[in-house]
Amino acid sequence: MKSTEDPVYRHSKREAIAILLLWGASFLWTVPYCYEYGYRTAGEELELDLFWGLPSWVVWGVAVPWVVCGLVAIGMCAFYIQDDDLEPAESLSSEVNSSESSNSS
């Protein structure tokens, strides 16, 4: 019988790449931003810049990206990640025995 590429594999791979891009974007924004605006060298005078009562580097480097990433993640789950047909659960009741028998054979 001819076979085609498993759509679950294809979709999962595509979705995993998109998720990695999101991780990469959050990393490339958060760490450099916080390092640039939230770090001081020893002895350097502190300039306290507040936003909403929090250090502004925390707001723009962590809090805002957190909200943005949350929204993007929710958007991806709602519109991008596909519903795929995984193997039906009811066929699994016999899986232990079947895997045992395949193992012993």
């Binding site: 979709h11 999962s12 959050s26 480097g61 659960a89 232990v96």
Partner: protein, 708 residues
């Protein structure tokens, strides 16, 4: 050496009695609830394939159950003990430290979720070693994976058992029923060399916590664990939701809180000895104790006794005592006022009675007058004039005063990076480098961004949950739920515990107690001490939900991966069932016994285990799920290279005279990044050099029969 005569002593528990009694009730209701859940879960085991149901819930988890069990398992005791302690100690930089939690749910659930679930279904796998073994038809691969899981998670299980017991102790230690139980326990273990140095209260809590978790996990299996996780997940989010507004109102809003933090200078850590004027006439525990003095220049000094000191009857001194000395003038002023206010409150009166009873007030007449004069200069809220029952009873001798290794004497470090680092964190092999770099230098910030989101994806105990959801719609909805859930927990935790520095200063040496201490402070501040029990239930729930999952993963590794698949494949369902119960019981009991005298540096062990598992499992699993060319040699090689490179960084530290749990850094990067990089390189290099996988396996896992 600096000698300071001190007067007045406070002996009080972290929890008020009201809160402690509420906590006993909370614990009691919890116990009943989890056993009811376990009983229901056990009924589900009837009439289904035992192993699949016991270890995987028959792959039928719906959205709420899947989302909350995943969230609660990931949020271990560390989230409510170690993490708050770090926030307290280092300040706002922890927002960056934890920042990859912004993508944690989508990474840990979305990167592998759908695919690992599908592959597990195709192969009929119940555990992660099962998946590895079946994907390549290699029993050896399955056994190596099983051994690594048992190795790492057993360490973590002991650490979590201790965390749970310490929390429970903090929760209930002031309740009378617990104190009498603890006393009885103490008498029982007295004289037994195995229990030498074991605090009876801790031992009682370990037994209660351990037996509870072991029994419900053993009896109910996967579904019991999942449903209790759901209960615990709800408790956690409610705990945070209550604490945040209470904190903000008590520090006067975010602006005033952050401005005060910006002025904070890291404290000094002093060690020394306490001498008592009279021998104690009964066993006594000193804790939550402040010493104050005003020097010749009129400057005020405040010292907080670190941790509690248990003294037997007849003690005349306590050696190796540590104190935290506040340095920031604003902090001293604020805390001094608070102590003054407490002085006139009813709780202060109670404290005073405790002291006099504890150290033999009947002999006060024999007090040394010269020392009384000294005390007149020193200051303590319960001064001798207004409280005649409290006389100078102790003298403090400071032997050594240590400055912070980073940030000493300088304000602003709690609101900026790389953040202060205390002398107690020394012991690293690269101590000088670390001291110069602070708590979170850039390399470590990068490492932690990998650590959470990426290494979290590589944890087999989370992967096994990904094998349990019902369908892909459940996965999508669960990711959304956990994304919102974590947003509601982790960032608010940073805010709450940054400001805990203001409400509870001087706890640097006992920062792991900050969560229960905050629960009490916040709720008593609004006149609802009983609420503390509910708040402390949050971390307790977090530990419990992690321990039960680990327990099940370890026992499934032994029963399914070792016994059923390698030793006795034709074992009857009844045999497997009995063995599963027995193994869960035995593993739990062994962990409990080790937790009686647990190793030090528990938080470091948790980090070691988390990063080690990721270095071993992430890339082999990614390769077998997404790379058609992957083979057993590449994946097994990747696993072993990841394991050894990660281990080497810890061993290198130990060989250089440092602690095993404080690994060396390479290029400023932690073991998690190096281990993951080595593991990735290994799979990429070894795979093309070794034979291709069989067509049959590639066909099975990457193709579907064509419908045309």
């Amino acid at each position: 050496m600096k000698d300071v005569g001190m007067g007045g002593v406070s002996v009080s528990g972290i929890l008020a009695v009201t809160a402690s009694n509420a906590a006993i009730w909370t614990f009691g209701i919890y116990t009943i609830a989890v056993f009811v859940i376990a009983a229901f879960a056990n009924r589900l085991l009837q009439g289904k394939s035992f192993l699949s149901e016991y270890f995987l819930g028959s792959r039928g988890l719906g959205m709420w159950a899947f989302a909350l069990t995943f969230a609660a398992t990931s949020a271990s005791g560390g989230s409510f003990t170690g993490f708050p302690a770090k926030i307290y100690t280092h300040g706002w930089i922890l927002a960056l430290w934890i920042s990859s939690y912004m993508v944690y749910p989508i990474c840990t659930m979305g990167l592998l979720g759908k695919r690992v679930n599908q592959v597990a279904r195709k192969s009929g796998s119940i555990t992660i070693p099962d998946v590895l073994r079946d994907r390549f038809e290699s029993p050896a691969f399955g056994i190596v994976a099983m051994l690594l899981i048992v190795f790492f998670l057993s360490f973590n299980l002991i650490a979590q058992f201790k965390a749970g017991s310490v929390l429970l102790q903090t929760l209930i230690e002031d309740a009378e029923i617990f104190q009498s139980l603890s006393h009885t326990c103490g008498l029982m273990i007295q004289g037994n060399s195995f229990f030498e140095g074991v605090e009876p209260g801790y031992f009682c809590c370990l037994l209660s916590f351990g037996i509870l978790v072991i029994l419900y996990t053993t009896y109910g299996g996967f579904h019991a664990v999942v449903w209790t996780d759901v209960l615990q997940g709800i408790v956690m989010v409610f705990g945070v939701a209550i604490m945040l507004p209470l904190t903000l109102s008590q520090v006067g809003g975010m602006r005033s809180g952050t401005e005060l933090m910006a002025k904070m200078i890291p404290p000094r850590i002093a060690s020394g000895r306490l001498d008592f004027d009279q021998a104690t006439d009964q066993p006594v525990t000193l804790k939550d104790l402040w010493f104050g003095r005003t020097d010749e220049d009129g400057e005020q000094h405040l010292y907080r006794l670190s941790r509690s000191i248990s003294l037997p009857a007849g003690a005349t001194s306590a050696e190796n005592v540590t104190f935290v000395e506040l340095i920031t003038p604003e902090e001293i002023d604020l805390q001094w006022k608070r102590l003054e206010e407490n002085r006139s409150s009813s709780s202060a009166t109670k404290v005073q009675e405790d002291i006099t009873g504890a150290v033999g007030s009947g002999e006060r007449d024999a007090l040394n007058l010269a020392e009384t004069e000294e005390i007149a200069k020193a200051y303590w809220p319960f001064d001798a004039d207004s409280n005649p029952s409290v006389k100078p009873l102790m003298t403090v001798h400071f032997d050594e005063v240590q400055e912070y290794s980073y940030g000493a004497g300088e304000p602003g470090n709690y609101v900026s990076g790389p953040a202060p680092m205390g002398p107690s964190e020394a012991g690293r092999t690269d101590e000088d480098v670390a001291a110069a770099a602070g708590f979170l230098p850039l390399g470590m910030a990068i490492s932690f961004f990998f650590m959470w989101a990426i290494s979290g994806t590589g944890q087999p105990q989370y992967m096994v949950r990904l094998m349990a959801f019902k369908d892909s719609k459940t996965l999508r909805r669960a990711i959304i739920t956990v994304t919102i859930y974590y947003g509601l927990i982790y960032f608010p935790l940073v805010i709450i515990f940054c400001y805990s520095r203001i409400l509870l200063p001087g706890m640097e040496n006992e920062a792991d107690q900050i969560m229960p201490a905050m629960a009490v402070t916040l709720t008593e501040g609004v006149g609802h001490g009983w609420l503390a029990g509910l708040l402390i239930a949050a971390p307790f729930a977090a530990v419990m939900s992690t321990v039960d999952s680990f327990l099940l993963v370890i026992s499934s590794a032994l029963v399914r991966d070792l016994y059923q698949r390698n030793i006795h494949p034709s074992a009857s369902d009844q045999t497997v069932k009995r063995l599963s119960y027995l193994t869960t019981l035995i593993i739990g009991s062994i962990a409990l016994i080790f937790a009686i005298n647990p190793p030090k540096f528990l938080q470091d062990i948790i980090v070691y285990v988390g990063s080690g598992l990721a270095a071993c499992f992430l890339f082999p699993v990614v390769a077998l799920l997404y790379w058609k060319r992957s083979n057993v040699w590449g994946c097994l090689g990747s696993m072993l290279v990841g394991f050894s490179s990660h281990l080497m960084m810890h061993i290198a530290s130990w060989l250089q005279g440092g602690e095993f749990t404080n690994p060396v850094d390479l290029f400023g990067l932690g073991p998690v990044v190096i281990g993951l990089a080595a593991s990735l390189l290994a799979v990429l290099i070894i795979t093309p050099l070794t034979p291709k996988p069989s067509e049959k396996l590639v066909e099975k896992y990457f193709s579907v029969p064509s419908t045309t």
